[in-house]
Symmetry: C2
Subunit: 330 residues, 2 copies
């Protein structure tokens, strides 16, 4: 398999690490061509036609639309990141050239962010850090909570909710989920018939729902009031699913605890009283952020290599776009 990455200007060093390039060379014949932004569309198309696969992503020269009608050798465009529309014209997807992106990779990151916030709130890390900074030693741990036996309610059981449950299971929580669009749950996850029922049962409520007309502000004053004192709310999904003012009131009174990666709007006054509370962790939509690791193979690298191996064996790559998914994507 002949593989090319044609970058717009200089290649991003954190993407094209020596390890990644070496691994690509092991899978096929790989060329990294920089400064593709200097090429005309015709010349870029001509170059890409002589390869089987093009790897694209944040630093890619956009793929010329004219390849749709005459792709030459080019059968597969593999995107190492999520955003596809800025780089691959719709016509290529329409003409049946295979186009994939990183698929559910971010789901694992969002789920890990939710686990991080849940553990940090449950084990009172903010309180602990304050004692650390103020010169103390130890604190009243009567609100510290291990996950074993904890009643964790999962609101929304899509790809992120599923990954979250997989990550949480070994800690031994009790699990319940509410998702009107999911019929089958794993044996150890009890279904809840309503969000109300879920709130009444949960000691920690974790939002993994998508934002829609049905879910907007669905976790309101009434639902939050059903949670027991000191229960935990985790939101790494969308801020607007929660009635934020109602939640903030419950946090300021000290009745609930929360880890919030998302707010609506995505900002907060510099002097907002919520900022100084020990029962709240705010992470500015960044808890799932993962810079490229110090060493070794990045998960995004892994995913690209996995797809190229599939393609090389004549199998269909995963996370392919059709025009529907293309139109819904960002």
């Amino acid at each position: 398999v002949k593989v090319i990455a044609l970058t717009r200007a200089q290649a991003l060093t954190q993407v094209w690490t020596p390890e990644f390039v070496e691994a690509l060379d092991g899978v096929g014949e790989f060329d990294l061509v920089e400064h593709g932004g200097d090429l005309s569309d015709a010349n870029a198309a001509e170059l890409l036609r002589s390869y089987d696969v093009a790897i694209v992503g944040w630093d890619a020269r956009p793929v010329p639309e004219e390849l749709a009608a005459s792709p030459g050798q080019l059968g597969y465009i593999c995107c190492y990141s999520g955003t596809i529309r800025a780089v691959v014209p719709r016509a290529l997807v329409q003409h049946g050239i295979l186009v994939s992106n990183w698929g559910d990779l971010p789901a694992a990151g969002v789920a890990e962010g939710a686990v991080t916030l849940l553990l940090a709130v449950a084990h009172q890390i903010p309180r602990s850090l304050r004692v650390q900074q103020e010169g103390g030693w130890g604190f009243d741990g009567s609100l510290s909570t291990g996950l074993r036996g904890l009643a964790v309610g999962v609101y929304g059981y899509g790809v992120i909710g599923r990954r979250f449950v997989e990550m949480l299971r070994p800690f031994g929580p009790r699990l319940r989920a509410f998702d009107p669009y999911v019929d089958v749950l794993p044996e150890d996850v009890e279904p809840a018939d309503s969000l109300e029922e879920l709130c009444r049962w949960s000691e920690a409520l974790v939002v993994h729902a998508g934002l829609s007309d049905e879910t907007v502000k669905s976790l309101g004053r009434r639902e939050l009031a059903l949670l027991e004192d000191h229960s935990i709310v985790i939101n790494t999904a969308r801020g607007d699913i929660v009635d934020q003012e109602a939640l903030f009131r419950e946090l300021q009174s000290g009745r609930l605890r929360a880890g919030l990666d998302v707010l609506e709007p995505d900002q907060l006054a510099a002097d907002h009283p919520i900022r100084s509370l020990d029962n709240v962790i705010l992470t500015f939509h960044a808890v799932s952020h993962s810079a490229w690791p110090v060493r070794g193979v990045d998960p995004r690298h892994d995913r690209v290599l996995e797809q190229l191996r599939r393609f090389g064996r004549g199998e269909t790559p995963q996370w392919l776009f059709d025009t529907d998914r293309y139109d819904r994507s960002t």
Copy 2:
């Protein structure tokens, strides 16, 4: 099965919750008898002889030694906590009365504490909380690290190390372990031949070793220097396994990051410069602390109920003491 709990004075309300008592009544015929401290040894023994099982723990009246020679009905003493020697005389174990405690329950707590610290340090929760408190929004996330693909080295692969790996596995890290006393590791945990090799490989090094002549100060200046820049050290085991001054220097220079539940000695000057760093979380030997949950069955309750069911079915309970284990216990 006839089951008794004979408490010294008043029964601890956080132990004998209505839910626990109801569950015990479901497993056998259960009596909770308070103020056993007022009974003579002879009278206490007489009472206990008419039950099959005695549940003991922090609030129990000590079991009279004379039961060893004439136990009557009493065949099993089930301790809901860890400490056994203050409540059950050695002679009962020696005479073959079954005696068990909570077994590996604390191991899961210590392992969960280590996961909590690893996630909190990797996702820069201290930095995030500082921004939250100081009125900012967002921060440079170039040191934020997801666990997927991260090289996690486990130093010590006993019961806690094993539980830690079980909890970490779904996050998708690469795993390696060093333990000279363990021959067989799971397929996805590569053995390291030395602590040096483990340090050279690890992006996060997690201490789960016991303290011994071999391990004391074993993670010293030379070993720490083998870790890459921004690597993470987690210690929920014993402070003295690490050369603390060497680690503190690496933290003050900003070269390493750490989550430390244990220090040696178990204190720190109120104005120690380590306290103000964003690359350090100190948790004062409390990160594994779990107060009794808001609602529902406590893990310690679960363990007792599980053992009683085993005993009721004629199976051998787990975590039994022989005189060897009794002599080594606290």
